[in-house]
């Protein structure tokens, strides 16, 4: 693992010229995106530098407390992101709590499973393994849950009459919301399925290419990638099922009514 080539800040400065060229194109064609492009590039550089420092500190500490806190912070940020991606949010505490709780449950479960059974670092929570692993699982889980919940709320609103028609004919809330629930779960899992089937043909996953660049033999890097893909599929599946069923539970009640009044008013954007 020592055969990797280190980069100097001059190398980075040179590469950043590409972003400046992009900004120049925006000026020439009047796209008016040069400002946001530059801000995004600077944010990216600053955020990654900071996370590099944080990870350096975490890796040298190998403390269960600090590792746990870092994991918790990552999950809270992901929860915030899930909330931002909803066209119509659940009202009150549920809005942040449902997505965050489901992500925490599924991503931590799957990460711990991988740490204890497949990777087995010592100690098992070694942040050098646990943090990147959780990060990869959490990222995909977040996308899945955000898509699933968004599909659920928007299609319950669009298909309200159809759902209520079944309730009126004596269906339970789970039967009446069944087609909408299935659509939401499908849209939550589709990105994972698509990325699994395209991996290796269309795209080379970042984690695997990263390992190859740092000198790991491709066959070994591929094994890691396959493990991570399985973990992502599992984590996204558990998380999305929990979040979507939790959403159906919240948007209906014990008297089998559709409770769209439990959606917050649409945000003025």
């Amino acid at each position: 693992m020592t055969s990797y080539i280190t980069l100097s800040y001059v190398d980075l400065a040179l590469a950043s010229v590409l972003v400046l060229i992009n900004a120049g194109l925006s000026l020439i064609f009047g796209l008016k995106i040069h400002r946001s492009l530059l801000i995004a590039a600077i944010r990216m550089a600053v955020q990654l530098t900071l996370i590099g420092l944080v990870l350096t500190a975490l890796f040298s500490l190998v403390s269960p407390l600090w590792t746990g806190l870092a994991v918790f912070a990552m999950i809270l940020f992901a929860g915030q992101e899930v909330m931002q991606r909803q066209d119509r949010r659940l009202s009150g505490w549920w809005c942040f709590g449902l997505g965050t709780g489901c992500m925490m449950m599924s991503s931590v479960l799957v990460t711990v499973f991988a740490l204890l059974t497949a990777i087995r670092p010592s100690p098992w929570y070694d942040p050098r393994y646990s943090i990147p692993l959780l990060g990869m699982i959490l990222g995909k889980c977040m996308t899945g849950i955000a898509l699933g919940l968004n599909t659920l709320t928007t299609s319950l609103m669009l298909r309200r009459a159809a759902v209520e028609a079944r309730l009126m004919l004596g269906a339970t809330r789970w039967d009446a919301a069944g087609p909408v629930t299935r659509d939401a779960l499908r849209s939550a899992l589709m990105p994972t399925i698509n990325s699994m089937s395209a991996t290796g043909l269309v795209s080379l996953p970042g984690m695997m290419t990263g390992q190859i660049l740092s000198g790991v033999p491709p066959v070994e890097a591929v094994k890691y990638q396959i493990l991570v893909m399985f973990l992502i599929a599992g984590g996204t599946g558990f998380g999305a099922v929990a979040a979507v069923l939790g959403g159906v539970y919240r948007l209906t009640d014990a008297r089998h009514r559709l409770r769209l009044d439990r959606l917050a008013a649409p945000q003025a954007t």
Partner: protein, 245 residues
Amino acid sequence: MACYSLGVVAGDLSTIVVQAGESVKRRAAGPNVLKDPDLPFQTDAPLLQVRDLRTKLLKPVSFSLAVGECITVKGPSGAGKTLLLRAIADLDPNQGLVSVEGSDRSTVPAPEWRRLVGYVPAEPGWWAETVGEHFDDWIAAAAILTDLGFSEKAKSWPIARLSTGERLRLAVVRALIIRPKVLLLDEPTAALDAASVAAVESLLADRIRAGLAVLWVTHDAGQTRRIARRQLAVEAGNVREEIDQ
């Protein structure tokens, strides 16, 4: 069939003029507000009892509906007619006592309740692509649908191509084949031509004679004359009974 019912329509128009005058007088004398929880229920075997039913927007309402009785509900748009029906069907959060054949709604699981008390909204919903998929028992449905002018081939018709009137009639049949004791109808004949109105009224009249109790929202005073003897008027969330006869 069509000629016969058109005759009835014309006949009823003349009586409405007289009746309307009466009802105005009665209202001036003092509206029959049904807020009193101790209001005696009808003595002849009330099938549906509603007592102090209320929601955020609906003021407390009490009334009862006997076996084989039809009550119409009138009132301006947005007054709360649909809210009243939805509250009885338990589709919106509500308080108050509602019972069918003496069994309290709160002791009956909601899906079972909605099979006892069917509801056909003004804009019925459809969850599948073709007509047939919306009926568990197509043979029973087809028997009624042919009376309403549908052909046997209707089973494979796509819902998207049906007119509003066709959808309303299908929704009435969809609710009827569950065999509810009470049926709540929200303007079921609003988008129908005269012949179809007559067919739907005659179908429901048969069921009412067989014991079905119906709460029927309609704007059509002539229809009220034809199908009901009692009428509820809803205005700004207040429900009161109008006794014209």
